[in-house]
Amino acid sequence: MANSQAMCTSFKAELLNGVHAFGTTVARGGTGADTFKLALYLASGSLGAGTTAYSSTSELAATGNYAAGGNTVTNGSAPTSSGTTAYWTPSASVQWTSFTSSGSFDAALLYNSTQSNKAVAVFTFSAQSVASGTFTLTMPTNDSSNALIRIA
């Protein structure tokens, strides 16, 4: 045996569970899971790694059953880990029904609506449009290789 440099897998999962706080700006007031939402963005937007929080800029216009801020994701599965990867995925698809997109859209922002709408991740896909229809975003397999959020 020999020592090996590594970020501990348990720590990665604990990050997803909000266990550690290296700073002094802890805003957590309770022990329950936060509420996470997904919002859809026009292909003309500029979301990416620099996105820090939800914004309505370049979000789809609120029409039909698409409301500003998007939809809450179902969080029925706690973060877990396998091998050296911690991961989490919403436990159900996210669906918007009976709406017409205000333009071509190709991105979804996952953000924490409990913690001041802070951004988590931006997911892009092929440009889509919807006309008086339904957009269903089905989640990837919740495992260490495919989960929506993975810390590897």
């Binding site: 990867t85 006309a131 008086s132 339904t134 269903t136 089905t138 959020i149």
Partner: protein, 79 residues
């Protein structure tokens, strides 16, 4: 009663009346088409209804397959 075509896992169902940008419309008066596109990142299935060439209904069922992981290398770049 929904007038939205739903993806049932194998294909789109076919409601008699379809919700369109012009209101509810009999499906038999509309031209229906559907399709799928798949790559390493997603599987996208769509259904469209046209009236005189105009798209009056479009629904999309998109499955995310692979998204970027936050890696230790990425964390190192932040420090």
């Amino acid at each position: 009663m929904t007038h939205q075509p739903r993806f049932n896992g194998a294909g789109w169902d076919d409601p008699a009346l379809v919700e369109t940008v012009r209101g509810l419309w009999p499906a038999c008066d509309l031209q229906r088409s559907d399709g799928a596109r798949e790559d390493e990142n997603e599987l996208c299935r769509w259904v469209e209804y046209r009236l005189a060439g105009e798209v009056v209904h479009r629904s999309v069922h998109l499955t995310l397959k692979q998204t970027p992981a936050f890696t230790e290398a990425a964390a190192a770049e932040l420090s």
